[in-house]
Amino acid sequence: MSGYLESVLVLLAINTILAYAAFLPMVAGQLNLGVAAFVAIGAYSAGYLSNTFSVHPVPGAFAALAMAGFVGWLVAFPILRTRGIYLALATFALNQVVQGAILNMDAVGGASGYPIPEHIGFAVVATFAVGVLALVVLLFHTRFGISVTAVSDDERVADLMGLSVRGLQSAAFTAGAALAGLAGALYAHHFNYVEPQNYGVLFSIYVVLYVLLGGTQTVWGPLLGAAVFTLLPELLRGSAAWRYVIFACLIIAIMALRPQGVVVRKAWFSR
């Protein structure tokens, strides 16, 4: 496989995991603008474990997943006290604080970035991505999928039907954070270098945008969004700026014409 093709496919795999990291809280009605914070936590945890304790990247990735999930679980309590715009703003503030904290950590290179020599190839990254995809699809065929959709459709009714609204919301937020951490770990070990400047709020916005482009009504929407976001620019082959211009126009057009996203749920009954 050529180096170029491999790096595109690796990005596709990582972006797919990221898409589900943003998708899980979104189906529970939370707009998480702090995805990049958890990606950074995952990337730096994996890097630190690998560089300092020579942990193998694969268990390292699981450790990063656990670490980001744990931080997500911790902050879920205060963050889920807020809702709507306030929740989006709180996650955004969290993003900035985490980025600021890493900039100040000299143990992991601070502003000058953090090299992580241990390399993993495409096969490992792809295996993780397929695993995540399978897990999420499976999850949405269980009760959890229906319950979480019920919570975002109408919180009060879900509560009345005996669902644990807070539990489901924090589970979705935590699971999203954990997946973001995994994506970060894989990125760090494949590209062997991370720097805090990459994990700003604009990173989070991009992830949210391509998930919404694909659509949040089904589990396949985020996959399509990630694929379009990763592959379309490669096919267009213009300069990076032109790619983003086209991406932005695409988003504006789709939101105007088909705001549910490209992939939608089959209508069970007509209204």
Binding site: G84, I85, A88, L209, A256
Partner: protein, 290 residues
């Protein structure tokens, strides 16, 4: 020394305050977090640089930059609020983020990614009061910010359009029933927001003599923080929040160094959101949609 930091903080804060007013107006009236504002700020700043470099006199450059902010904001309105009524609630937010990406990348294509040095349109005059230095253009900027908000306050309280806007903020459906021409009043929010943002972009470009395609992000994120700290939907709260964030930032640089700024400013934002989400001057939290 501390007085000097305080002055610098207030000057920086006046830039944030104007952006915060634009954000708070969109949230207060339309319940819409308008992410295109950083883009408008940047366009105004870059155009200021472009026109001044081209040799235009500065009042004309200011006028063109501010007008461009208002015009682009109407364009954003066509694709966001216009569609809001017949679609899901997150659509305007998403579309406004796409506009931010669009504006930034078009500026990148037009002018490159370098930070540009804005030529100073007039001689810097500064007053010395005791040990502190006050730059007059910055003081004029602060004055402009407060005057602009006072005008907006009058517009909202005294005019027909202002009453319409406040009715829409209360309840859009009732406003329609009462005969408020919603589709003609709403663009006013966008024009005013665009003009405030662009004015802020102009002031930033002239006072700090720099402009780049990414200049909007940092300032607008601080503007959002200022809006929340002051109380969402409250224009005087936005001014208070903006000045406070400006002062916190300069003191954080003074005590913690440049790298501690984000932790201080956004830590304050998080604390406010958790402890008092209504902000310093806010009233009761409305049931917010996204």
């Amino acid at each position: 020394m501390l007085e000097q930091q305080l002055i610098n903080g207030l000057m920086l804060g006046s830039v944030y305050a104007l952006v915060a007013v634009a954000f708070t107006l969109a949230i207060g009236v339309l319940n819409f977090l308008n992410f295109s504002i950083p883009g408008l700020f940047m366009v105004a700043g870059m155009l200021t640089w472009f026109f001044l470099r081209a040799g235009l006199p500065w009042p004309l450059a200011a006028l063109l930059a501010v007008a461009s902010g208002g015009l682009l904001s109407i364009l954003v309105e066509r694709f966001t609020y216009r569609l809001m009524s017949r679609s899901q609630h997150f659509v305007p937010l998403v579309t406004s983020m796409a506009f931010l990406i669009l504006f930034e990348n078009l500026a990148l294509i037009a002018w490159g990614s370098d930070q540009q040095r804005v030529p100073l349109p007039f001689e810097t005059v500064s007053w010395r009061v005791g040990g502190t230095v006050i730059a007059v253009p910055q003081l004029v900027g602060l004055g402009c910010a407060i005057a602009a908000v006072a005008c907006l306050d009058l517009l909202l309280k005294r005019t027909h359009i202002g009453r319409g806007l406040r009715t829409i903020a209360e309840d859009p459906e009732t406003a329609t029933l009462l005969g408020v021409p919603v589709s003609r009043v709403v663009p006013v929010v966008f024009i005013v927001g665009g003009v405030f943002t662009a004015l802020s972009g102009f002031l930033f470009a002239v006072n700090y003599q720099q402009a780049s395609p990414f200049m909007g992000e940092e300032v607008a994120l601080k503007g959002i923080s200022a809006m929340v700290v002051g109380g969402m939907g409250n224009i005087w709260g936005a001014i208070l929040g903006g000045l406070l964030i400006g002062v916190v930032e300069t003191f954080a640089i003074h005590w913690l160094g440049a790298r501690g700024v984000d932790i201080a400013v956004y830590g304050l934002l998080l604390a406010i959101l958790f402890v008092r989400p209504t902000g310093l001057l806010g009233g009761v939290v409305r049931q917010q949609r996204m």
